[in-house]
């Protein structure tokens, strides 16, 4: 951190590659720094010239007579390893590598980056880049980049993984008069990455909010640890691109980084208590909302409006968040009745009617601020015939200041509202342009609050418990390169970790099968038990609803016949006979391994149509009970599980939480589980059965990874 502080708050800077050629990046950076008003020392470095705009130019950093804190480097990347050695000799410990030609340009570039990393390690250097635009620190008037006009001062830090968006957003922010303390183009993250910057910037008093445009992470754990420390105190707001598969493809080919699947990013951002927004514009909406107003304590919001139409629009938008405007208590209604004209809406949205003077807003707002059933207020004003926008804005400020509930005014109109808009902005109140924007922002603020709240109650522990039976089974399978386990093996593994399965046995003969069926009770299901036949249904090797002895006999014969028909030399272990269970819901619990995120876990609606409905949620190993509950409750089917549905009774959620926790322990204990699928997990009330499952092992050596 000490080194990062040298990098972002240097007293002296060497600019390696500073030049008098105005079309070159080396000139642009030099010029931006000296024009920006930086008070520290600036040393241009270039062998070819002696002087640059009145500054003495040095042929090498080694010739600079004074101590240098930071080197900014804009020369062809292949010469930089040598420069790093010179920095080491000179005792310069931080660098910004502007130059492109790193791994974004292919295999050769990737190797150069490796060399850079080694040289940096040898010389004790921390560096930003390569392939970045530089950074700005407005606190010391340091505009150390190419492409940015000098940013305005503010309390926000911005980190961008895309150089083009860095320029575009900073340019747009200038136009909108939005200020920053730090703005960093992070580049290829060969050394300094998101985790480092979040840790460093998060500790600065001059940073109240961290905004990130992210394409991909290189180190998930570092990001996780840094973010979890910061988010309880300061919001981290992330716009991540690469949502669609195509997007992802482009993101990966674009940055050359190790990417993960987008839904895992969402899960991780949630897990660390940060806020993911949909696009870059929302970054700023949310900065305004979170830095200017308190966060809502719950999601019971009220809409007050002087116009019905926009009120309806706001109410419509609640639907997107799967909830409704707060129900007002009788007491609140009575109070409102006293101050509002009789034709008011008598409902939330609180329509105080088109002729509302400022005084009516004041009285109604006071009541709503006092109402304990209200967690936040969205206040719509349209310029109608009798409306006094400016005086209303003054009332808004007066009644909302010092209040502990968020207040988001929406000024819907143009010319007539400009003065009111300016007044609110000057008084540090966020102004929204549409009801939809305000509603979305308030729900996002609440989600942010909610997730950081989860975090504070969370208790994640790595709990490794390698049961010897499973250890032995996996060893055998790995030795034999039988990496895909049979259903029977899978169920045995699950049972060891107390994950309930329906009684399942292997029958070698027809007589065996009858005996098993009699023991477990009819109806039974029979399937082929063969490592060579994966898609048993396709092969005609699954029979359901077997009701009696004669049907067992018949099924046994046909299954063996069909198996051999399907694959002549299939190895047949026998026929599986299992109890047919009737549950109310079919769920899925799954896990897979991702290079970046390691083992993750999935929960959701199961059955044949899993991939079609995609009603699933994700989290990582190890799971806490709170995460497990959150996973379950963030699926759509949760509503049905909790409340029941038609003739299906409610399910005991605790049963599911326990199963998820047990799956988590199994996964923690065996990082070699590459894939796990329990589908369907059939449940009815507090009884559940893993009815089918698969496990695939990996031969890779993997350590336990903790994303906490």
């Amino acid at each position: 951190m000490y080194l990062l502080d040298k990098l972002f708050n240097p007293r002296s800077i060497a600019i390696v590659g500073a030049t008098d050629k105005k079309e070159k990046v080396g000139y642009a950076i030099f010029k931006n720094i000296i024009d920006g008003g930086f008070k520290g020392k600036v040393y241009p470095v270039n062998k070819r010239i002696k002087e640059l705009e009145g500054y003495k130019v040095f042929p090498s950093v080694l010739e600079i007579p004074d101590q240098v804190d930071l080197a900014i480097i804009a020369i062809p990347i292949i010469y930089i390893p040598e420069i790093f050695d010179q920095l080491g000799q000179k005792g310069i410990k931080t660098a910004v590598v502007i130059s492109a030609g790193g791994r974004e340009s292919g295999e050769k570039g990737r190797k150069i980056e490796e060399t850079l990393k080694e040289k940096a390690k040898q010389n004790g250097i921390r560096f930003l880049g390569p392939n970045c635009l530089g950074f700005a620190n407005t606190l010391i008037d340091l505009n150390a980049n190419f492409g940015l006009d000098k940013p305005l001062k503010g309390k926000t830090a911005f980190i961008s993984q895309s150089g083009a968006l860095f320029t575009a957003i900073m340019d747009w922010a200038l136009q909108e008069r939005i200020g920053f303390s730090y703005a960093v183009s992070i580049g290829n993250m060969a050394d300094i990455d998101f985790g480092d910057l979040i840790e460093y910037l998060g500790k600065k008093d001059e940073v109240e909010t961290i905004l990130i445009y992210m394409e991909s992470l290189t180190e998930a754990e570092k990001f996780t640890i840094a973010s979890r420390t910061i988010t309880p105190k300061k919001p981290i707001i992330i716009a991540k691109s690469g949502k669609s598969e195509i997007g992802q493809k482009a993101a990966i080919s674009h940055t050359g980084a190790i990417g993960g699947k987008d839904f895992l990013y969402s899960a991780l951002i949630k897990r660390v208590g940060a806020l993911r927004v949909d696009n870059v514009l929302q970054l700023f909406d949310m900065t305004d909302a979170l830095s200017r107003e308190p966060v809502p304590k719950g999601n019971r919001f009220v809409v007050i409006t002087n116009a019905g139409g926009p009120g309806v629009m706001a109410a419509d938008q609640f639907d997107k968040w799967d909830t409704q405007p707060a129900e007002l208590s009788e007491k609140t209604m009575e109070k409102l009745n006293k101050v509002l004209p009789p034709v008011w809406s008598h409902n939330n949205p609180v329509d105080i009617i088109g002729d509302a003077p400022p005084e009516r807003y004041r009285e109604a707002l006071r009541i709503l601020f006092d109402a304990p059933e209200v967690d936040g207020i969205i206040c719509i004003l349209t310029p109608q015939f009798m409306t006094k926008p400016f005086e209303s804005a003054q009332v808004f400020y007066e009644v909302s200041k010092d209040k502990k509930k968020p207040f988001y005014p929406v000024l819907l109109g143009g010319e007539k509202l400009q003065k009111a808009r300016r007044y609110l902005e000057e008084h540090n109140i966020p102004v929204f342009e549409t009801p939809e924007e305000a509603v979305d922002s308030m729900f996002m603020a609440w989600k942010y609050k909610y997730h950081t709240g989860l975090l504070s109650r969370d208790n994640i522990v790595l709990y490794v418990d390698r049961k010897i039976e499973v250890e032995n089974l996996f060893s055998d399978k790995k030795r034999d390169k039988q990496l895909l386990l049979t259903e029977l093996d899978v169920k045995n593994v699950l049972k060891v970790y107390s994950i309930p399965v329906n009684p399942t046995f292997n029958a070698k003969t027809k007589e065996d099968a009858i005996k098993i069926a009699n023991e477990i009770g009819y109806p039974v299901v029979m399937k082929i038990n063969s490592p060579d036949i994966l898609h048993k249904s396709d092969a005609g090797c699954v029979f359901l609803n077997i009701q009696n002895r004669s049907e067992v006999e018949k099924a046994f014969e046909i299954i063996i016949q069909n198996a051999l028909k399907y694959k002549k030399d299939a190895k047949i272990n026998g026929v599986i006979v299992e109890k047919q269970v009737e549950g109310d819901f079919e769920l899925i619990i799954g896990s897979s391994y991702d290079r970046l995120f390691r083992q993750y876990i999935m929960f959701g609606t199961g059955g044949t149509f899993v991939e079609f409905y995609k009603d699933v949620s994700f989290d990582f190993i190890p799971l806490s009970e709170i995460s497990a509950i959150e996973m379950i409750s963030s699926t759509k089917i949760y509503k049905l599980l909790k409340n029941g549905f038609r003739n299906k009774k409610p399910v005991e959620i605790k049963t599911l939480v326990n199963i998820l926790m047990n799956v988590s322990v199994l996964l923690q204990s065996f990082p070699e589980i590459e894939e796990l699928d329990i589908n369907p997990l059939v449940i009815k009330g507090n009884q559940a059965w893993a009815v089918d499952g698969r496990i695939k092992l990996s031969l890779e050596k993997r350590k336990n990874t903790i994303l906490v």
Copy 2:
């Protein structure tokens, strides 16, 4: 229409209620008209005063010496019936009723509105309002409303059902320099409604696009007929609020109008070839997009960009439309390879790299405009170090003019792009602020094109065929007030209209049941047949998977027992025995009656979880084959039906179309069908069976309604 032309293009106007009291609406309207520069004659009418701002004031319209085309009325609503009589006497045939106090204020107001309508009929008057703000016609400089600053001239007509939004949007448009030919606050639509205005404005040369803010319709047929005539020539773009149930509740209580369910509005808007947008801002995005650029012929779009990040954002947004950026042909790729630097993305988004000069945009754009596999181009520019925004904008204009493909530039940034932005706007090219906006707009333009295309090929015929068996059955049931039909009756009705059902029979005795089961073949399903037991499963009166004679006997007994346990005096007609069919997919076809939209039809994913997944589409009676195909293909399950899924084979879509068409004929023939549910409709390949169904009849007399 002649009268509407008098209303909106009057040569002389009487203002009833014009006053010198400046806080009154009557003053504001008078002032707006004379300040707006209206060239026709203006006659203020008021008993109390003689003169108003230099105009002679008349005590009554009857005293006005000249002919008057239009009366604008702003006096308490209770006096207006009398004024209507005076208008009749004076020969004034059109009016704008500004006054509030109509049905929006309750029962009393509703009655006054009825009186107004009668008086209008008696005197041959057409009128706008009540409870409206008036209108503006910029072609004759007539600003006949209160609350609007004089709008700019343009080619767009705007109709708003909310007065507040009328003011807010027009105020905002003024700030954004957007112009209009007509702007109308439609009010309560006691007489002139959406249908009238769409018909009138749609025929005007000065109207190229109609924008509507809608809360509810009062007459669906009039709207339908008018819109279907206009949309093939001019876009109608509709923002409708009241999407959520809560929203709907608010909309109804707000306008006091007869409302319908929001999904039916969506279906109707689609059916008439109009475009529904999500919010009011999109109204203007789409006006720009549709009026300035050609509509795309397909949905194969390309993104070209000088920055990877924004390219990914654009690609992400394609996901929302369930599609991907167009695949570029080898030929196009070869051409691009020749003009682009080797590191270009080699993919769509076409990333032409951050240092792209205007010339590179020109060459790449020419190739993309020529590529037959591309229907539209989204072109992103960010202000990077080497970028020349203004010169690039000139290139954009040059290469895109006279082209038959839409070209939507996205200028991502602020200060540095202002000149380029202004240039494009002046050259009539729409400019977008974010990649997401541009992608959404292009897909909406395509949807608009697509739906109007459907329309032109559509052939909707009312085909009434009241089969005598069904006629008789329904008569009996209505006579006996047995409005809910039993499963057996429903299946008989369906069979008459060639809708396939699984073999289903009633067994009065155990022996009957065995005989039936033997005939139709095992396995069978058995259920109670009782008009008194609707929820058969809950009563324990449904048995599946019955495999043999002894199980039939057992099931028969238990069903009767359970039925009597469930309801002691239940009328029992017997036990239904039906063939258990195994299909690949469970679908639903349903219908219900709505006061506004009449009979509508629903298709989608069926089974127990219908309401949960809500994967359904809606249309109206009568259905055309094209509508039926569109209904099927706009569900999510369509993909699976068409392509098959795992071991489920593709379904013959024609089979489903035929069933939908037959259901449509049944519904057309019997408007007394209040509700119809076929759930599940089980299908496998080209075989389908209605496995369960219900029909509820209405005693109301209903005429056949045609929403065509």
